[in-house]
Assembly symmetry: C2
Homo-oligomer: 461 residues x 2
């Protein structure tokens, strides 16, 4: 914790005190303590509540000063007006970091602004770091530190760090780990950015060895924006940074002011140009934000832009080809040997080999044989840099294992492959889970799969 | 069936003969007969197979000429080379329409092209209509006529007609009815367009009383393209037409040639401009295609562009506002009475009323009360033309019914409302199903919800 910008106290505290801890499971705040206990936070947890002697098996203390240990991090659950006192107590105790969950500060009007000012003074004097107010984080799967109102089943450790301007990821938390199957190094929500802001976070994450990919949701730069852009340029040389901007429009910028108390500044066009110049990966929608995050967490960039497409339908194959051209790819010219291998599973007439339409082939040769032949031979073709593949739907159970195995073997070829769902529905959920557990990303549509692959390709070009 | 363009024989045959019917459930072709029997096609079904006396309880005939009745529609399941004979038999029998499922015609090379020519001659002489080859349709939920290799559980009747260039919708069929909850009037896949093409289909659907919305996937215009554009202009005056184009790029156009045997012609920019001029709704991706189809099937266009936004998070609210501005909406200025009503569920500080952030309100007043207050008061505000609302996630069961009821009451206000999922996952599936059964559309993200609403608004402007 030597650097001004180190946020280690937020992610690696030796212990955590929860001021305002509750043993009432009907209150969302209950899950702040419950998650730490159930998921097994590797540090110590000290619940603070004058009306309880024990919470979830943990000894409870009447106040912070009664904790018989130095305290690294305090999570404050008290309402806005009571927060100033908590901060004062933290200062007295020599606490290193505070997470303030309450809303109703600068985003709520003058009284809240005044409160923030008073807290700032204390931070300046003591050097304590403060996350929030109006935050619901941090999360660190490597030590099972999690600040959340949701009872989480599991945290999947990985190399992707998220920084959000607000708690909007909170309802999506279960989905991020279990539906989207992302592996996470850190999640932080900077809220009102009274102290810790996006510049601190980017600096910290750029140096964090556990983080290989950074995904930022920002509305405005509250820190030094020149420093932010410099940092961004330095960081993208080492790790991809994906950015989504809220408050792009004048209406949106105005709305931004009212929820975390700071105006989203400057022209979006200028911001967009600056991001591009810095080499950041720009997401236009939340779906893109998570789509891109997944492709960068799961895959290494392809060596070139020669793509092979494998589909279940000629019509969707045409759309896939369109997407590939629009995203900077060209169709790989398969080697003669590959085409000869494919020919063994053709229907009784000749069909093209790229895009390769499995549909009519499957009618004549079955799912297992066609998938095996297509995926094995095309993934090993030296003229192919990357692959876009539609997942077969409605595979009869006797063939299913073989089909899944063929997809899993894609990893052996060492080339990035993105998969898309045939049904757009939930038909393939079980298979998708198995593929994604093995870092083979599956997207709901071919357009999204190819766009993500395109971002991955362009990152290194 | 008086008009040259009537496709009644494809959608409303009094009876259907299936040439090549099979009683082997391991073959996809089995489901052609099985679906008709199980779903209860309201006409008669005559399986044709010289080696069976009965299939699925239906008397089976050795050949078409043995059927003791005039036959309206023949579904041919035989391979390409045997199809010419089937067409000849149909001509002898005086059949009115033929559906040819086999592939391997013009898309498979010269032999197939020759076959198509010979079949065309017979059609010209007899006036028989032919759908395909290389098709897997039609579907008509009003009489449970369905040509599909998938054993379908149910068909939901509605007012949306789909026309596809190819069978690419086939894996998505279950999802269209059960996951996407669309109600369908007709589905047709025109395949190689030997006879019936997109011009015939558009003409037919424009006059079809059961069809209120038309969604077309096209790669090229095989009929008279001037006629197509004229028809489009006429049709959009009566019903919205949503179009997605495959073969937008030069690479895609080339791929199009090889799967249904016709080259995707002309420049995409020109095509796009022509669509716009004709007033069609243009989808850029398959997700948009289905998103737009849903909004038009479910809702009536709003009277104006004054939108109210209700969210669970300030950050996602800002993104929602951005989307609204980018899609032609402005934030409604709520009436004083509405703001007073909302104030009752505010957190202890003041918050904006549009976008209305339910998140902090729910912490203090619970889901049921906040949803009821927000949805009831905002939907009845005269300054509001339409609404974009985030669906609460993780509602405790005792409150769940009340929350769902508040959403269902949105219909009473008579203004279009689009909903988006808080989790982006499957958390809210049960609620979504109930809302969509009541024609309240739910989208995976706010961007997609607002974009769909924007298309709906612009249709009448």
């Amino acid at each position: 914790m030597s650097s001004r910008y180190s946020l280690d106290v937020l992610f690696y505290p030796r212990n955590v005190a929860i001021v305002g801890a509750t043993r009432n499971p009907a209150k969302p705040a209950y899950y702040i303590t419950e998650n730490l206990v159930r998921l097994g936070f590797t540090g110590k947890t000290y619940p603070i509540n004058p009306n309880a002697s024990e919470i979830l098996g943990l000894k409870c203390y009447p106040s912070l000063k009664d904790v018989p240990d130095d305290v690294d991090l305090v999570i404050s659950l008290v309402p806005a007006p009571a927060t100033l006192n908590v901060v004062k107590e933290c200062a007295e105790k020599g606490v290193k970091g505070i997470v303030v969950i309450a809303g109703g500060f600068s985003e709520g009007g003058e009284v809240g602004e005044e409160l923030e000012k008073k807290i700032s003074e204390i931070l300046r004097k003591t050097g304590m770091r403060l996350l929030g107010p109006n935050t619901l984080s941090p999360i660190n799967p490597s030590n099972n530190l999690i600040v959340s109102f949701r009872g989480m089943k599991e945290l999947k450790k990985g190399s992707l760090a998220f920084c959000f301007q607000s708690g909007m990821y909170e309802p999506k938390l279960g989905w991020i780990f279990n539906g989207l199957h992302l592996g996470v190094s850190k999640i932080i929500d900077i809220g009102n950015k009274l102290d810790v802001n996006e510049v601190d976070v980017l600096e910290y994450l750029s140096k964090d060895d556990e983080t290989k990919v950074i995904a930022l949701h920002i509305e405005n730069i509250k820190g030094d924006s020149r420093r932010f852009m410099e940092l961004l340029k330095e960081t993208v040389k080492k790790k991809p940074v994906i950015i989504i901007k809220g408050g792009r429009t004048s209406m949106g910028a105005k709305a931004s002011l009212t929820h975390t108390g700071s105006l989203s500044g400057g022209s979006y066009t200028i911001f967009e140009a600056a991001l591009k110049q810095a080499g950041a990966i720009h997401a236009q929608t939340l779906e893109e934000f998570f789509d891109f995050a997944k492709v960068f967490e799961f895959l290494k960039p392809p060596a070139g832009n020669r793509v092979a497409i494998i589909t279940l339908s000629g019509g969707e194959g045409v759309i896939a080809v369109d997407c590939c051209e629009e995203n900077g790819f060209k169709l790989a010219e398969l080697k003669k040997e590959t085409v000869e291998r494919l020919r063994k599973v053709y229907p009784p007439w000749n069909i093209p080999s790229n895009p390769f339409d499995m549909g009519p082939c499957i009618e004549f040769h079955g799912n297992a044989k066609v998938c095996k032949t297509a995926l094995d031979s095309i993934s090993r073709d030296e003229n192919v840099d990357c692959m876009v593949i539609q997942l077969p739907a409605f595979v009869p159970p006797p063939e299913l294992d073989e089909v899944v195995k063929s997809f899993l073997r894609l990893k052996e070829a060492g080339k990035p492959a993105v998969i898309w769902r045939a049904t757009m529905g939930r038909q393939e959920d079980r298979i998708v889970e198995e593929l994604e557990r093995n870092y083979i990303p599956v997207y709901p549509s071919v357009e999204r799969a190819v766009k993500a692959l395109g971002k991955l390709y362009k990152y290194k070009v």
